[in-house]
């Protein structure tokens, strides 16, 4: 074989088709990172501090497909787990766009049955606002892409009831953005149904020492997951050492979390927060033993 083979190979390489989404993906990623990084400079790592929670990728996929494919399934999801209790979560409003390659499916949850009307309406208002914003952003992006020759764009948003026991209700709202690739974010609210209060992470603990204790445990979990399977990459010291990414140091005081039905604390990270995007969103179940000394009580976490 001769050099012209290499030239042919180069030609083939240069002929790799460039998808029309590329321009959009690049600009959107730039816009997101740049606005993030200016805030980050002032406030530290904002993306981690936001009250955003994650669940497992598998869970999202199944639910997203399920909700899309069958209205009956969606109804089942929103009703069945909570039939027994008075506090309910139902779909309050839906936004849908179906315009060829542009698709949006946004469901707004609504909580009912809480006696504390203030808590209930503030949560419901928050959900509605978030989704209105999401819808407006989608329309703006769609117009932008249409002017630039079209493309594919999708957004899928809805909610899951993650935990529903006599005591605890954890609702997760997810947003899946699809622009060639996809990104998923989860946000959680956990409510004490008996006392009707919104449970925050700091409220569970006696003092701030939980930040370090939980962070150390998560780092250990990351390392042992990586040791068990070297395709599991985390941006943590001892696994990633390229000096190219910001390594995970500690959780934020308001880190995303929920309480699972076993009464265990689950700490969540969005896609790209602590690992490459291909790892998806990440969850870590924190062993209760290591935090039992600093818990305010064992009422929620067992």
């Amino acid at each position: 074989m001769k050099n012209n083979s290499l030239e042919k190979l180069k030609k083939e390489y240069m002929d790799i088709p460039i998808p029309q989404e590329l321009d959009f993906v690049v600009k959107k990623a730039l816009k997101e990172s740049r606005s993030n990084s200016t805030t980050m400079a002032a406030k530290g790592r904002l993306r981690k501090a936001a009250v955003v929670a994650a669940s497992t990728a598998a869970c999202v996929a199944v639910l997203t497909i399920g909700v899309n494919m069958s209205p009956a399934f969606a109804k089942t999801l929103s009703k069945v787990p909570i039939v027994s209790s008075i506090v309910k979560v139902l779909t309050f409003r839906e936004y849908t766009v179906d315009d060829g390659t542009f698709n949006a499916n946004i469901k707004v949850p609504e909580i009912s049955g809480l006696k504390d009307g203030k808590l209930q309406s503030s949560l419901n208002e928050k959900y509605l606002k978030e989704n209105e914003k999401l819808y407006e952003q989608f329309i703006a992006d769609m117009e932008d892409m249409k002017q630039n020759g079209g493309g594919h764009l999708g957004v899928d948003s809805g909610y899951v009831v993650k935990t529903d026991t006599d005591r605890i209700l954890s609702i997760g709202r997810y947003v899946v953005n699809i622009v060639g690739s996809s990104s998923t974010t989860f946000k959680y609210d956990t409510i004490d149904k008996k006392n009707e209060v919104l449970i925050t992470l700091p409220s569970l603990f006696k003092d701030d020492s939980y930040v370090d204790i939980i962070s150390e445990n998560i780092k250990e979990q990351m390392k042992s997951r990586h040791e068990a399977d070297d395709s599991m990459i985390y941006w943590v010291e001892g696994v990633e050492d390229e000096g190219l990414v910001e390594l995970f140091e500690k959780i934020s005081k308001e880190q995303n979390f929920y309480i699972n039905s076993d009464g265990k604390l689950v700490i969540c990270f969005d896609k790209y927060d602590v690992a490459p995007g291909c790892m998806g969103i990440q969850e870590f179940v924190i062993p209760t033993e290591i935090i039992s000394d600093i818990l305010v009580s064992n009422e929620y976490i067992k």
Binding site: M1, I18, L30
Partner: protein
Amino acid sequence: MSKTDLEEQIAEHVIEFKDRYYRLAYSYVRNADDALDIIQESIYKAFSSLDSLKNPSYIKTWFYRIVVNTSLDFLRKRKKEIVVSEVFLSANDESEYDSYEDFDLKAALDDLPPNYRSIIILRYFEDLKLQEIAEILNENVNTVKTRLYAGLKKLRIKMNDENWEVSK
């Protein structure tokens, strides 16, 4: 230089050369969705690690490095799936093979270990200098040169032509 100026420079650079970075990512993962994912993630990584860019004149090699590393991370993650899918593909998909005139060479290039393949792609397809490739891959120039020769040898390509001179 202020941080925003630097951000502006990086943004301009990425927009200008996005096709190149996309092709490079594609050459690793060989499908559009994953390549787009890698570009997106590389941009996030770049902006979250501005401090690792010592000098704005290194934007090119710095960003190439991020794309290469992100692609390799991706391949490592996908390694297990590939073992299955290659068998599946070779048994089920013949359509793509027809379009390659130099299928043997193309396959040989794909079969090279990623660090050898990266060097050939960066040197001959992206026309980068050996020194730049060494910076991107974080290796010394001699290692890069040795691997380049070894890679070419595996491809059984002889370098006679001046234009394809190895050392530049």
